[in-house]
Structures are given as structure tokens and as C-alpha cells.
């Protein structure tokens, strides 16, 4: 995967226009951070790109292929981790992973792939309802990335996690980026923003470039004025 190009994405819920023409592009090995106040449409943007919700207009080009017109391709090239954990609470980590991948692929990943980097092997037989928030988030990301998709969409990956868990996840994401993956992340976390090469603020349905300078209070001030 070399490049993605998102242009003119539109989405409305009945009469409420949430996205009014979102455009940006990203190169392989880069991370895009999307910020915005609550209800600004960040999660909607990610879900549209992931094929969960249908866009009202626009295109999502991935090496020349418009994924919005060919939704069947999306699961092959893109991993999506929604807000909350997309896991079956009664099953253990292995059973949750087995839903998506065959045994061999999982064993390879546990031996030296994404699952090893995420440390999923440590709690493979633990039922999800007994896992900590950090374990659940690592497993959720694991479910999305075992097949090494070129694009990874993350919706608030660090929400409600302790610093150690955040660090674990961030370490994996750095590796993912280094290996040429394209990361698109919705976040409110200062540590996550340090990982981003470009940041945007989603305001009034369009993206505005934002240069994060490490001053989180200034960012909070900007977002507050939008509420």
C-alpha cells in the first residue's frame, strides 16, 4: 500500500449534515490524527471509511481503487477498531480471534507477528469478561490486524486506559507505522497525538489542519471554543 486519498466525503443523518466534504491524504508509514469536540462526526468519518456506514458522497482511493464503490475489498486492506471493544465477553481471546482467522495464521502471528507485539499470548485463554481494559483493547486491535492490513482505523484507542496499557499499544502502533502501515486515529489523548505525523480538527463537517506542538491545554482551548 502506497497511498490513500480521501476526498469530499459527505454524510448526513436525516437532515443533520455531519460530514460536508472531508478530504485528506496519507502516505504509507504515516499516522493521521483526527480531533474534534464530541458529536463533531469523528467516529462517523471512521465508520464511513471502514464501510460500516454508507457515505452520501465522496471517494476513498487506495492505490487507485475507490473503496467506497467496492466495499467488498475493504476487509482485505483495512483494519477497523471501533469505540468500545468488539469482543464476545463470554469467550476467551483465542475464540474471539478464531472467529476471524485460521489456526495457522494465528499461531504465526503469536510467534512473531502483531499478536506477539501486542502481548495477546499472555491472556490467550482468559475469558474477555475477566480481562482488564488494556487487555481488551490489545485484543480488539489484534482482531483487526492479524492479517496485516495496510490501513488501520482506530477510534479512541487509549480511552480509559492506564499509562502502561497506553504505552503497550503505542509501542505496537509505532511498529505498525514503521512497517509501512497507514494509521488513521481519532483521539483525545496527548500521547497518541505525539505519534501522529499530521493532525486535523473536524469542525462544521470539514477537516482543518492543526499543528500539534505538545501544548495540550492550547488544544483543549481550541476544542472548547467549538463546543
Amino acid at each position: 500500500m502506497q497511498k490513500i486519498e480521501v476526498s469530499g466525503i459527505k454524510k448526513a443523518y436525516r437532515r443533520k449534515k455531519v460530514l460536508k466534504g472531508v478530504s485528506f491524504s496519507a502516505q504509507a508509514g504515516s499516522c493521521i490524527g483526527i480531533l474534534g469536540s464530541n458529536g463533531s462526526g469523528k467516529s462517523t468519518l471512521l465508520s464511513v471509511l471502514a464501510g460500516v456506514r454508507r457515505a452520501d458522497g465522496g471517494s476513498f482511493l487506495c492505490d487507485g481503487t475507490d473503496l467506497l464503490r467496492r466495499p467488498g475489498v475493504i476487509p482485505k486492506v483495512l483494519g477497523y477498531v471501533p469505540q468500545g471493544d468488539p469482543l464476545m465477553e463470554e469467550l476467551d481471546a483465542w475464540d474471539n480471534l478464531r472467529m476471524w482467522y485460521d489456526k495457522k495464521t494465528l499461531q504465526n502471528s503469536l510467534a512473531g507477528g502483531a499478536l506477539r507485539l501486542l502481548g495477546v499470548g499472555e491472556f490467550l485463554k482468559t475469558p474477555v469478561h475477566r480481562m482488564s481494559g488494556g487487555m481488551k483493547k490489545r485484543l480488539s486491535i489484534g482482531c483487526a490486524v492479524v492479517s496485516n492490513p495496510g490501513i488501520l482505523l482506530l477510534d479512541e484507542p487509549s480511552a480509559a486506559l492506564d499509562p502502561v496499557c497506553k504505552e503497550n499499544i503505542r509501542a505496537y502502533l509505532e511498529v505498525y507505522k514503521k512497517e509501512g502501515g497507514i494509521l488513521l486515529m481519532v483521539t483525545h489523548d496527548a500521547q497518541d497525538l505525539e505519534l501522529c505525523d499530521e493532525c486535523y480538527i473536524l469542525k462544521d463537517g470539514v477537516l482543518h489542519p492543526y499543528q500539534y506542538d505538545g501544548d495540550f491545554h492550547r488544544l483543549a482551548g481550541i476544542l472548547r471554543t467549538e463546543d
Binding site: Y13, Y80, P82, L91, M99
Partner: protein
Amino acid sequence: MAKAAAYFLAQLKRALKFAPAQLAADLLICAGAGILAYLLVAQGVFLHGGVRYRIGMVGNLSDSYLGFGISALQEMDDSRFMIELVEMSEEAAEEAFSRGELYAVMRVPDGLLESVVRGDNDCLITYTATDAQKGLGTMVMGEITDLASTLVTSSQSAIYAMQRVLVDQGRGDEVARETDKLNLVLINLVLSRSGFGEVELLGYADGLSMELYYFCNAVLLFLLLAGLLNCAFYARRHAALARFLKARGVGAFWQVLGEYLAYLCLVVMGLLALSLPLACVLERELIVIPEWEGMGVSPFWGFLRTLFPVAAMFGALQFFLYEAAEGIVNGILLQLFGGIGLGYLAGYFYPSAFFPERMRMIGNLLPSGAAARYVEEGLFGGASAGAVAAVAVWLAVFFVLAVMVRRGRIGRE
């Protein structure tokens, strides 16, 4: 498709984790219901006159005609097996009535007989009952008052005519004797009224005996409320998983299908677990179903087969209700009230034959009514195409509705 199959298997695995607790709950309910059924049916409380309506007779009962009438009802009439007439004072009757020891109080006013002899109708027997609803008890009382009217009033015309003829013919000394004779003839006719015609009892539901009717409906009610026992299956479900599935190419239809099939396995397991103790009870004849008497348990297995399509339809209903509810608590309440409402209207608690015609029609159109009709027809050699279609249509409706709700949930803001 492969991912959808994998999702179904994962859901099945999930369902199997709930199975032991669910089966234990099934057996507990079965044991409770079994004990209740045994007490009510096997002990023959309703069937062999165990319950009698006690009616207090109040007022001036000293007249020999009245005394004779009451003792005739108590000693000779068929109604003696169901009705016990007790002479008592007004105060004692009121007290017993307020304590619930009497089903009704009959007040015989002073001068009733004199009024009748005069040919007046200004004195009336008043009857006060606890039941406001038109039911079996009031029907029986209706018959008794009819009987009394016939005995006391209509006969007077004949007696007066006979007395006048005798007097006109100069046979006044024979009036008393002939009047007694006529009264005896009349009483004899009234007491032997059941011999005038043959009464064929069709039962309350297309020819089912009371035992089979309640047996069928108890099992149907169990299936209708199975969503309560299986609520754990619907707990801890997050919209995030639905969205993740959609992103991986498993849309709302396949999600619902996978979950529904897994849930159905859970329901069927519950039904099979319930069927074993039921079969034992029937085999040991702890509960006797008249239609199945002497046939062993084989009719029960046939009955069980007819329940699978119903279980599938009720499963779809339960799935839809949990899908439509926001949160597990709302889902449980919806199952409870929805199930009880649907069950009541379809006659699961009380024979629908007693309902008004319009209510019965609505009950038949409901999913619970369609299920009852399907099972009843199945008991008589096979369900009609209409009954099968009704069950299939309801199943499809609930499934489609569940898919629509899921689709909305995935796309919700």
C-alpha cells in the same frame, strides 16, 4: 459466507456456555409446574367434585313447599355434586360471605309463597355472588334460578286451571290431592331434565380435553417465555461488535442469522430438557391426558415434533424483542409483559372459549394464537396449510424486523 459461518459457530459456543444454567432453570420451573399440575389435575380437585359452591340460604324457609324444594335439590338433583345449599341467618350469611366461605347468598323474602299462590310476582329471590364475571359459577346459578322459576311460577297456571275445573265440576274436595299430584309430576320432570337431551361436550379448544388443553398451553407458555430464561444470551452485547462485523463483511442479515440460529439451539435444548421429565410424568401416569390414555408416551413425542416450528417462531419473536429493547433490563421487561399479554389473549391462561368473539379473533391472529392453532391441529393428524403459513409468516416478520433494527443500530449516530 465463511465469516458468517464462523460467527454462527462462535455464537453457538457462547450459547453452550449458558446451557447448564439454563437447563437447571428449565428443570426447576418444570418441577414447580409439575407439582402444581399434580395437585390440581392428578388429585382431581376439579374433576371429581372436590370444589363445591357453597350457597347460603337466608330468609323465611319454614314453608313446607320451599323446604321440600331445597331438600329435593340437595338429595336428588344432579346439581348436588356442585352446589351445597346451607340454611343460615342473615347475619351469619353476611359474615361468612365477607370471609369468603360462601360463594353466594340467596335471600328468600317473606311472603314469597303467598305471593306465588296469589299469582303475583312482586316478591323476588335475590342472589348475591362474589363473581362479577360471567363464568361457570354464574352459569350454574342461572340454571338454578331458571329451574326455580319453572318450578314455582310457570306451574301455577296449570295448577290454577286444574283447581278451577275441579271446582266447576263440583269436585272441590279433590283439589288438595290433585294439586299435590301435579306438583309431584312437575318436580319429577324438573329433576329428570338431564334425560331430555344428550349433551355433547366439545371441550374448550376444538375438542381438546381440559387436561390436554392446559398441558399444550403450559408448554407453549414455557416456549413463549423462554426468552426470560435465556436472557444471559442477550446480555453483554455491544454495538462495537456489530460495527466490527460489518467492517469485516458480515452484514446485519448474517449477524442476526448467526445469532438467531445459536439462540434457537439454546431454546431447543431447553425444550428437549423439559420433554424428558414430562415424558416420565406421562409414562408413570402421574398426569393422565384422556386423549393419550393407554397409548404410552408416543403421542407426546408426536406433540413434541409439532413444537419445533413454534419454538423457531417464538425464538424469532424473543430475538426481535431483545434487539428492539435498549438494554437487557428493558429487554427482560418486554419479554415478560409481551409474553404474558400474548399468552393471555391466545388463551394460554384461561380457555379462549370464554372470551368475547372479537377478542378471540384477535387472539387467533397473534403469533401466540397462530402457534396454539398450529399445535392443536398438529394433535389431530397434522396442521393445515393456513396454520403452517401463519407460523412461517410470523417467523419471517420477526426475523426481518430484527435485521432492520440491527441495521439501524449499526448505522446509528
